[in-house]
Symmetry: C2
Subunit: 224 residues, 2 copies
DNA sequence: CTCGACAAAATTGTCAACAATAACGGAGCC
DNA sequence: GGCTCCGTTATTGTTGACAATTTTGTCGAG
């Protein structure tokens, strides 16, 4: 059954969030058609509301819409995922540098604690817990940086690549690789060292890109 | 009279383009209220259509919408303009580097010709012509880079900061400063030198940021 | 059996009307 | 005189129905 939450208030914002959730959670798979009437029935909202939500999600990059042909869940290819990671490499390094300049003592404690919890999660083999902490760390750095524009762009890109991110996190051995990279970012930011923080972020994202390519080569091994 | 083009086809895309144009051209000034009924009459489209258009423009960052209080033209502050330029610094340097790797011989000729025309425009004091060539250069570099994700983000940011960009271009002496920076970018890209191209783009955008701050300090000189 | 035209169904685009909400103004009260 | 309360007005949020477009399925000709 797909209509898990059909009794919600029909508010426009709610519908956007509901559809977005369904997409990032994988309930709506890539390339799946999103028929306005169906969604209207599923979420108990009017078609106009659903329509508005689809427009919004289109600009977020989660759905594709073509004239008179409807909307469907956007499928991000490996090439696009790499592109997104390249953009993230630039913007997260910017945010890391800014964060290193502006971080307060209280926030230093926060980041350090996050780092310790990530170490524990990896040591304990808690992959999903580590993945969650990972997201929280990146978001916290964006917030501390005070660069709202970059933060907004990064948030949008995260939604688009969440599927690839998740596949990556599940790869055996991946947490052991990314943990020290994350700790390096934390160290540099907490040491008020912008250049080092930016470099650490670049290294981390470069590693993500490599892992993305490797994961894909393994899934679709056409060596021809 | 504001209804200069009221006899257009009512297509949704057209309305989006029309409102966007009115905003970037300055016909709709920052913080101006955008009442759905008024726009509906002005552009000869239904209210639902302009509503959809406003949602789309909201996600492009050109208008602000608050629940039950309507939409207005978003005013980008100096601080936001600086933030945008910082993001541009990162992404344009990425695109410049990629373009330096991928540029073809034909495209080298194209960029070189653009550079010459920019020199002529500056020499002839054609400020608006130079501004147009400036935009074309940046867009062409984005296209050559093949980084569609970065190009999309940059395009969106350009719309938001077009007003500040324009104010900058009008500053006396500004073209003489930015011209050599642009030529340096062109040279590095045409020489297939990614590092140098990225650095040149960084230098250029840093200069833009400085000029932005200077221009603002001149307009609102509160030294207190 | 394949191809093309034609009809039917499904889906989106558009519109006008209705309900709900927030800003505005004036009257009454302390 | 200033403040609160309440009705008015302007504007947005929502709904349902209608028109336009695309896709699908069917039939007949070659």
């Amino acid at each position: 059954m797909t209509e898990s939450a059909a009794d919600r208030q029909p508010g426009e914002r709610s519908v956007v969030a509901a559809i977005r959730d369904a997409i990032v959670r994988g309930e709506f798979v890539p390339n799946q058609r999103l028929v306005e009437a169906d969604l209207s029935a599923q979420f108990g909202a009017s078609r106009a509301t659903v329509r508005a939500a689809l427009i919004e999600l289109t600009n977020e990059g989660l759905v594709e819409r073509v004239q008179n042909r409807g909307a469907r869940v956007r499928a991000v290819s490996l090439a696009e995922a790499v592109e997104i990671s390249e953009v993230r490499m630039m913007l997260e390094s910017l945010c890391a540098a800014k964060a290193a300049e502006r971080i307060s003592d209280a926030e230093v404690g926060e980041l350090r604690e996050l780092g310790e919890r990530m170490q524990m999660a990896v040591a304990g083999g808690d992959v999903v817990g580590y993945s969650g902490l990972n997201q929280r760390l990146h978001r916290r750095i964006r917030e501390i940086s005070g660069q709202r524009t970059a933060a907004q762009v990064l948030e949008r890109l995260r939604g688009q690549s969440v599927r690839h991110q998740f596949r990556l996190a599940m790869r055996p051995g991946r947490p052991q690789v990314s943990l020290p990279e994350h700790l390096a970012i934390i160290d540099a930011i907490c040491a008020n060292n912008p250049e080092k923080a930016a470099e650490a972020a670049r290294v981390h994202l470069a590693s993500v890109i490599e892992a993305l390519k490797a994961a894909d080569a393994e899934v679709s091994p056409l060596h021809a």
